[in-house]
């Protein structure tokens, strides 16, 4: 885990992302400010089109702010150039998606090795690291399988293993159970909670399911029309 100073994992200040479509300016994320503590399990809720996915992409360093700032693990994303953002995506955050986004032509172990290649991890350490990650998500026996040979739940667990390959401090999840049946969804959620509790990874999960949020997250951020409408801290 990256040992940065401060207790905050994420700190957004007036974060905004506008799109211009012809004459019209769409305020996908509009002046959003919030903080998430280190080691938290947070949920980002809202109806579709509320801007929660755009906000997640901003946090993931895949999209760029129009205004405001976002600090993750103490580092300001708004000042990073594209090379620094790539580094940030590689080492500081991990991301999982509703549709898993595993490379279909690669085996699981190759998929998980991919971020290690980008991080230039020595080749001698990679095999062990890949096996360790697969073991953590209970898929060691599936290492040489292609994603299509696995169930949705297994695919998402493999994606989680891949997202954690370079030991990020923050894990961003975009509707991680959206494509899963309830049993597989629960399995994935349990795994996320386990990783959060045992390894101290900060988790921020986008979902439109308030029940899921209240069950797993200690902090819920609600968005509507690009704005943050409420922040709820669950008592534990």
């Amino acid at each position: 885990m990256n040992e940065e100073t401060g207790a905050l994992a994420i700190e957004a200040q007036g974060a905004s992302r506008y799109y211009t479509m012809g004459e019209v300016t769409v305020r996908a994320v509009d002046d959003v400010s919030f903080t998430i503590e280190r080691g938290a399990f947070a949920a980002l809720l809202g109806p579709s089109g509320s801007g929660k996915s755009t906000l997640l992409n901003l946090l993931a360093g895949l999209d760029r702010l129009t205004a405001g700032s976002i600090k993750v693990a103490g580092r300001d994303l708004s000042t990073m150039d594209s090379e620094a953002l790539a580094r940030y995506r590689r080492l500081t955050v991990g991301m999982i998606f509703q549709s898993f986004n595993l490379v279909p032509t690669m085996t699981l172990s190759d998929n998980i090795e991919l971020p290690l290649r980008f991080a230039e991890t020595p080749r001698s350490e990679r095999r062990d690291r890949v096996m360790e990650l697969l073991t953590n998500v209970g898929l060691a026996h599936r290492a040489s399988h292609k994603p299509t040979e696995l169930s949705g739940g297994e695919q998402q667990r493999a994606a989680i293993a891949r997202a954690l390959a370079n030991r990020p401090s923050v894990l961003l999840a975009d509707e991680p159970t959206g494509n899963l049946d309830s049993r597989n969804g629960q399995e994935v959620m349990t795994l996320l909670r386990e990783l959060n509790e045992k390894m101290g990874v900060t988790v921020l999960m986008v979902t439109h399911d308030p029940a899921l949020a209240s069950r797993y997250a200690r902090q819920s951020l609600h968005m509507a029309d690009g704005k943050l409408v409420s922040t709820v801290e669950a008592l534990r």
Binding site: L62, E83, A86, M95, M106, R117, F118, E120, R162
Partner: protein
């Protein structure tokens, strides 16, 4: 990303679209093959022509004559300004830097007796250096044993006149009857006497010396130069000199100046011209030939490159397709932390791999095509009763150059697709289903 990972990923991507990449690579191979075939032919033909010219000793030879000579090649010559080309001049020219040998052009029509047969033919001197220069090739028997030996070489068709089996003239003797100039008492007179001399036939020439490019090449019987000079053969220039208003010592109609290398030719030619003689070298004449080959090579190269240019468009097409097809994968890689540069390098690696494999295949293919053409040409030449020639040359530099060129062209073709892949917005790419 380290290079090994880059290459592994590139190889994996190429395996996934095996047929398409193989076809594109074959396209490059055909392009390179046509380039190699064209250039090898150009280089081969040039080498062939150069070899023929080298045989004639052309590039390291300057022909000097006095402007008083009527056969002079310089049209605007003012004969009265030019000094006589005599022994004094010969020594001066021999002393110029780079000059190895100055020999007079000695030739005379003579009667040649062999057994009971008598032939009237042209006899000429052949400098011993002609052998080292490969000006004479295919000697049956041997060359002169020394510069002043009483030996002759005969042309094969002349030998045929002497014996039904031309090879049997070797080791036999022939007699040359000739006109000897004897110096007179005054510069304005000399006497001529009929002489005979016996020679041993040591060799038969299958081809004309100096590639048939000199006046003396037409002779049927050749003597060593020193022997010929010692014989004081009456030369046509002797009578010309005699009838001049101010007759002088014996002059040469032409001196052949041979340099250590072609590099000296220009300087020697200049110095001789300063001495007010006419000088002529084939370097002047071959300038246009060499220019012709440079232009020919260029055109062959351009035509050969056309196929490669088409192949490079195929690379652009293949990689643009790959970018479209792998949109999502590129998005995933970016989300996992691949930088724009990593993505770009990956596509360049794929382009370069196609270029390298295509280049290597193409060189082999071009080589095979070339061998086939050469083989065919030689069958044709043999049917025409001509000696086989190597019209085909693939120097190592061409092999390396062609492969490097193929890689370079491929990487250039990869610029646009690679830039497009690198610029891909990961948010868009990942949203796309």
């Amino acid at each position: 990303m380290i290079r090994q990972d880059l290459l592994e990923l590139a190889a994996r991507n190429m395996r996934n679209a095996r047929l398409r990449n193989a076809l594109t690579t074959m396209g490059i191979a055909v392009g390179v093959a046509s380039l190699v075939a064209m250039l090898s032919l150009g280089i081969g033909l040039q080498g062939f022509a150069n070899h023929q010219l080298m045989k004639s000793g052309m590039f390291q030879t300057v022909f000097v004559s006095s402007k008083q000579e009527m056969r002079n090649m310089d049209q605007d010559a003012k004969p009265e300004e030019s000094p006589a080309l005599n022994d004094e001049a010969r020594k001066q020219i021999a002393a110029l830097p780079g000059v190895e040998e100055v020999v007079p052009e000695v030739r005379a029509m003579s009667e040649v007796d062999y057994g009971s047969k008598t032939n009237f033919t042209l006899v000429a001197a052949l400098p011993p250096s002609a052998h080292d220069e490969e000006a004479v090739d295919k000697v049956k028997g041997r060359f002169f044993s020394s510069a002043n030996a009483n030996e002759v070489l005969v042309q094969r068709d002349f030998a045929k006149k002497l014996e039904t089996d031309p090879d049997s003239v070797l080791g036999k003797t022939l007699t040359i009857r000739y006109a000897e100039r004897q110096s007179g008492d005054s510069p304005g007179s000399f006497s001529i006497e009929r002489k005979e001399k016996q020679f041993l036939i040591v060799g038969i020439l299958d081809t004309e010396p100096f590639g048939g490019m000199r006046i003396s090449s037409r002779a049927r019987v050749f003597l060593p130069t020193q022997t010929a000079e010692a014989m004081n053969l009456m030369q046509p220039s002797d009578t010309q000199q005699l009838v001049r208003s101010s007759p002088g010592a014996r002059t040469y109609s032409m001196l052949t100046v041979r340099m250590k290398s072609a590099a000296y030719a220009e300087k020697v030619e200049e110095s001789v011209k300063k001495m007010n003689y006419s000088a002529y070298s084939y370097l002047d004449a071959t300038k246009s030939i060499r220019r012709f080959f440079a232009v020919l090579d260029m055109f062959l190269g351009i035509f050969g490159s056309l196929a490669l240019a088409v192949a490079s468009l195929a690379i652009v097409n293949t990689l643009v397709m790959a970018v479209l097809e792998r949109r999502r994968e590129i998005g995933i890689m970016k989300a996992l932390g691949a930088s724009d540069g990593d993505v770009k390098k990956l596509f360049f690696a794929e382009a370069a791999t196609m270029g390298l494999v295509g280049g290597a295949l193409g060189v082999s293919l071009g080589w095979i095509i070339g061998r086939a053409i050469n083989f065919g040409t030689n069958i044709y030449l043999q049917r025409m009763k001509m000696p086989a020639e190597n019209l085909w040359s693939v120097p190592p530099l061409l092999v390396v150059g062609a492969i490097v060129f193929a890689v370079l062209v491929s990487v250039l073709a990869g610029i646009y697709p690679a830039a497009r892949a690198a610029k891909l917005d990961p948010v868009q790419a990942l949203r796309y289903e």
